[in-house]
């Protein structure tokens, strides 16, 4: 296989693998009544709470306006909370509520299951290698992301 072909193949595999990983998780999440856009918000909040909407949107890689509606819904259902910032009355700080904890537990289990399936048959060394190579690709691409 020529260098250029191998590179093209790599793009294809990268795309496919990521799509399948997402899908696999989606399928599991859907069985629990969690839709993609919903679990993504919860997932990011579990990593870090108290962000402004704009910051959270940046983290999630969606436009702030797109997050607004998701938060509207999640807030209505009592899973997240908008708290006014004391020092800047323009913005809110976003927090999870206690009611969100059960969903998070489920999400963590689903993520684990998906990963196990994805990495079946790969040695710890190979997983590590894959992670490092992907990390370099990511850095190459994120250089000019702003």
């Amino acid at each position: 296989m020529s260098k250029s072909d191998s590179e093209a193949q790599m793009s294809f595999e990268l795309h496919s693998a990521a799509r399948l990983l997402r899908r696999n998780f989606d399928r599991r999440a859907r069985e629990h009544g969690l839709t993609r856009s919903r679990w993504q918000v919860l997932w990011h909040l579990a990593r870090q709470e108290g962000l402004k909407q704009a910051e959270l949107a940046e983290n999630m890689d969606v436009a702030p306006i797109s997050l607004t509606r998701q938060l509207d819904n999640l807030e209505q259902e009592g899973l997240v909370e908008r708290r006014r910032d004391d020092s800047d009355r323009r913005c809110f700080r976003i927090y999870l509520t206690e009611a969100a904890q059960p969903a998070l537990t489920v999400l963590r289990e689903l993520a684990q299951a998906t990963r196990e399936q994805a990495l079946e048959g790969l040695s710890a060394r190979e997983v590590d290698q894959l992670q490092k190579l992907l990390g370099r690709v990511r850095q190459n691409l994120s250089r000019d992301e702003k």
Copy 2:
């Protein structure tokens, strides 16, 4: 790093890298007036023409109905063609027109540029390794895709 952490990290990198790759290409394509959904159709057709809409949709990983509208637009602009199948009057076979060729040339160049940026600093051997590892992940996940 524990095994489980390393695995979680891998999912994150995979997701990120794929997203950035897509985005990088999108940004380039957009400068040429090509939107995501449009170039995806053209791209897949360049690989293989003459498919039924349902088959093409399956390849592209979208629902058939979603493809219908894209084809409506692309057909209107004369970039693709729906040809009736002789032996099955229910279905169309989809083909690119001559008018689509310039766009495809541009797409190929953009893809090349994106790949070069993504893989900067990786040796041919590393690219190959990455491709093979991703291939295994893909296979693990695509087993139960249907």
